[in-house]
Symmetry: C2
Subunit: 323 residues, 2 copies
């Protein structure tokens, strides 16, 4: 499929990854929130940085890009990211965005698709249930098929990423992670709120030519044995950084729900992600999807020191990584 063996490139072409948005749903600050973090970032307090909602962009060649999730802030994110502007030499209508890959049906991960209207061809990749949600919501008809095909991702089957007539030169593998169906789709009468395997997925994105890959897992309830095995020895993982402690939203009086109830593992504690990853030998660990309640949003907090000390990075909007 790829001819690396026969025609090795003269120089390395690193894979480009950009963090378009590093906050959880609602963003930072959140529109109606007066928690310490939100008040501080609105006031411009040193150590606090505004963040838009959860999305990455990835490119093998720095020219054509795929979005990993499409946040409600996507229009602002595109404006703030020159690499995602249309090429002025490519005709009256153009976009370097050729695909969007969705990890679940949360509004903070799918509503950005609405911004990609105006008859521009690209591909939407998602699980069967997320595609069903998109089909059932008429607002997404602003993306007219067949110009914008909806492509179902089967779990554990790597596929070549393409869209708008372009092969992005990347393979993607979607895999189920422990999680929960999106809040607005919860079935309160059902066990686990009607969640099914595949409602929350992680992605492994690979550049087969350079034999580099990274994982993107913005929502995850638990690092079970299967997931730990998959991530063992990975070079780079972007991971669910929603909460620092499981009960921080309750303790701060913001919402009467634990992280476990929301389908999000916390950073700290014996069941947390810092502990779970300490044994996995991952090269680079980056938190994304950070909730406004998370004390790690304060660069000068003890929580941030603990994260730094454990070898993690806290993602921020505009963060760039080359693999």
């Amino acid at each position: 499929m790829f001819a690396a063996e026969w025609a090795p490139p003269a120089e390395r072409h690193p894979m480009h990854i950009k963090v378009l948005g590093s906050a959880a749903g609602g963003g930072f600050p959140q529109w109606n929130c007066n928690c310490r973090n939100c008040v501080s970032v609105r006031a411009g307090t040193p150590g606090f940085r505004a963040r838009t909602q959860s999305s990455l962009a990835v490119s093998r060649d720095g020219v054509n890009w795929a979005l990993l999730n499409a946040s409600p802030d996507l229009r602002q994110q595109i404006n703030d990211t020159p690499a995602l502007h249309p090429n002025p030499r490519a005709g009256l209508r153009h976009s370097p965005i050729k695909a969007a890959v969705l990890t679940n049906g949360d509004v903070d991960h799918i509503i950005g698709l609405i911004n990609l209207r105006e008859a521009q061809p690209f591909s939407v990749y998602a699980s069967d249930r997320v595609l069903a949600t998109i089909r059932a919501n008429s607002v997404f008809q602003v993306l007219a098929e067949p110009l914008v095909p909806r492509i179902e991702m089967a779990l554990d089957q790597p596929f070549q990423l393409e869209g708008g007539g372009t092969d992005l030169g990347l393979t993607v593998e979607a895999f189920a992670v422990p999680g929960k169906v999106a809040l607005y789709l919860e079935d309160k009468s059902s066990t686990n709120f009607g969640s099914r395997e595949g409602d929350t997925i992680g992605l492994k994105v690979t550049d087969p030519l350079e034999k580099k890959s990274f994982f993107y897992i913005p929502g995850c309830a638990e690092i079970d044995e299967e997931l730990a095995g998959r991530l063992q020895g990975a070079s780079t993982v972007f991971f669910d950084g929603t909460l620092f402690t499981d009960n921080e939203m309750i303790e701060q009086g913001l919402l009467n729900k634990t992280g476990a109830r929301m389908g999000h593992i916390s950073m700290s504690g014996p069941q947390g992600s810092i502990a779970a990853f300490s044994k996995l030998g991952v090269g680079r660990l980056i938190y994304v999807h950070i909730n406004n309640s998370n004390p790690a949003l304060d660069d000068n907090s003890p929580a941030r020191k603990a994260i730094d000390g454990a070898g993690w990075e806290v993602g921020y909007d505009g963060m760039e990584i080359r693999l």
Copy 2:
């Protein structure tokens, strides 16, 4: 209902109006557009100013606000508008936004509602058909009833604006204007694409205490006799400024549709809004919902001179008016 006759206020309290977004759907620049205007605004060319999508905010007291339309850029618009930030003395969760009034079902006018989640009470006012669209799209379930009641606006029946337990001290009257159903809801097999009276409405917002009012009509296909009669002698009108000429998108090679086909009157020409309003004696005329193709987005254009010469203003994000 109001006691102005018996207890006149010691001083005038002007009604506050803010233009949150002055562009049509897609905003300015539009994500995938290389037209002269979009290239110029991305390049920072003098005379071009970026604009977010179509929305106003209005308040009688400068404390509690109603949105007129909820654009996909609403999170950014709230961040950029301190008056819409939560009051830090009002508890952990608060918003001065108490209501959103929708003029049609276009995604650029309704998707912003998604940003108003997180269990904050406010009211959504819209026509029966727009409410039906919102009910049929599960993504809007992030606004849980009864916390966020959906209130049907009957045409030509002024009502008191309220939400989140607050009387905003304003009355609103919705009235049908010539127009078209939203693009993604078009029925191609039907006359006029399945549009019905009330799919596009205008709003008259009144401060009964000060006896001041203004009109907001961001989408309008034609100024017929009925509408002309209604607007005659108005003090202030925010009006559909989508296109300068009916065929500008075709001439620029952007889209094979006239303004008439899209349900938007143009500014210029014998059937245009400048000509139609020239006889109506309106005090202040402000264009909003301006499409990226409109030459009036260039402050130094002949189109802009013509508009200025006819006594119109071109709305911009952050524009403030007190009545």
